[in-house]
Symmetry: C2
Subunit: 235 residues, 2 copies
Amino acid sequence: MNSAPPHARSGALRRLEAIAALDDLSITALNRAIDEASVLSARRELMIEGQEIVGKRLIVSGWAARARLLADGRRQLISFLIPGDLIGNCGHKRPLAVSTVLALTAVSSADLTHCQTHALKEAYEVSRAIEEAHLLAQITRLGRLSALERLADLFLELYERLALAGLAADGRFALPLTQEIVADALGLTSVHLSRTLQLARRRGEFEWRDGRVVLHDIAQLERMVGRQPVRVSML
Amino acid sequence: MNSAPPHARSGALRRLEAIAALDDLSITALNRAIDEASVLSARRELMIEGQEIVGKRLIVSGWAARARLLADGRRQLISFLIPGDLIGNCGHKRPLAVSTVLALTAVSSADLTHCQTHALKEAYEVSRAIEEAHLLAQITRLGRLSALERLADLFLELYERLALAGLAADGRFALPLTQEIVADALGLTSVHLSRTLQLARRRGEFEWRDGRVVLHDIAQLERMVGRQPVRVSML
DNA sequence: CGGCCATTTGAACCATTTCAATAAACGTGG
DNA sequence: CCACGTTTATTGAAATGGTTCAAATGGCCG
C-alpha cells in the first residue's frame, strides 16, 4: 500500500494549478509533456550562463538551482528550483541565459514548447512574478539577515513553495541537499551553516537531519524573521 | 552655452532605443508620455509593497530604489532605478507590488499606459530581462563579495547602465546619493562603507566624492571582481 | 574491510558592526 | 549674511559574527 500509482498527479502540475486556473486542454497538454519528461542526473547542467535559451522547461521532480560561478571558484546559488518551477521562462526574442541551472539531485524536466494555451501563458506570467518575489527575498536575506535568520527564512520559503506542490505539510519537508549546497545559497561557509543548524536545534526552533526539515513553530519563526507569505496578484 | 535645449533627447528615451529597435510611432508615443511626466520629491514612494500595481511607469530623470523594509527598522535596497528604467513592468492580471519604490532624489516619471506599440512591448520584455540579470548580480554581490568588491561591482554596474542612457562616460558619473543609501543597497553599515571608500581611494582604484564617481581603470576593476557586461539577448 | 564524502569540532584569525564622539556640509529663517 | 539645528561623513576602540584551516568523526557504498 501507499505506493504511488503510475500516473499520480505530479507536484509540478499541482503547483501550476495552484497559481492559475487551468482548463482541461491545458492540463491535457501538460500531462502529455510531463509523460515525456527527460531525466538528468545530479551535477549536470540544464542551462548554461551566456548560452542561448532553447525553450521553456518545467521541473517535474528533483531539485535544481540557478547559480553564478565566479572566476576564482567561489559560487553563489541564486535560488532553488523545485517541482512546478520553470526554466527559460522569458518573454523576448533570442534570449540568453543569465545564470547556469544545475541539477542538485536527479531532475526530471518537461519541454513546454507545445504548452501554449491562454491559461498556461497566464500561469507562466504568474510564475515569473513569483520567481521575482523570491529573488527579492533572497536579496533581503543576504543583505540584512544573520546566519540563523537566513536559514529560518529560507526554510520558511521552501516550506511555502513545496506545500504549493503538495510536497510539504505539517511543518515538515524533505531536503535532499548537502549543507555545502545550502551554504552556497545563503552566502555562508558550510562550517558556519553546520554550527547555525546546531544552534537552531538547541533552541528548539527547527532542525534538518537525514534529509528532512522540521519547523517546530511556523508562526513564531515567521515572526522572528519578519516574514510574510509571497503574494503577487489580487486574484 | 551648454544649456540643455528644452526638448533634449532624454536619457530615458536613449536607454529604450538602445535596448530595442523603436519605430517612429513608438518614439512619438514615448515623447508624448515623457512631456507629461510628473515629479515626485525625494523620500516619497512611487509604489508600495503589497498594493495593487496601477500601470507601467518610466523613470525620466532622478534616482529611485526598490526597497524591502523589515519590521525592526532594517531595510534592504534591492536595486537602484535610473532614467530609462521601468516600474510596474508586469505581465499578469491585477499584479501586486512585491517591493516599495522610493524616490532617492526628485524623480520625474511618465505613465506608459498609452505606449503599447509592438516595438515597445519588446523593449519592455528586454528591460525585464535586464532587470532580472541585475537582481542576480545583486545576489552574487551580497552573497559572495567583500565590501570593497561589492562597491566596485556596483559602481561598474551603474556605470554600464548610466552609459546606456548617456549619463556616464569616461569612467565618470554623477551619484547624488548618501553613503547610507548605498550602504543599505550593499548590505553594509554606512560606517564601513565610508572606510571602504577610503581604502579604494588610497589604492587608487576609484573614488566617490561630492556626488561624483570616478573609476580609474575600468578593465582592471572588472578583472578584480570577475565581472562581465550584462547581455540578455543574442540580438 | 577500506575509501570516500559529508558533517562536526576546535582554535586562531579577520572583516564588519557597534557605539560614541567629532567634524564638516547644508538648508533655513532671522 | 550669519547663526542655527540637522543631516552626512569621518574617526577610534571594543565587540561580534563569520571564516579559515586542520583534524576527527561518522555514514555509506563497493
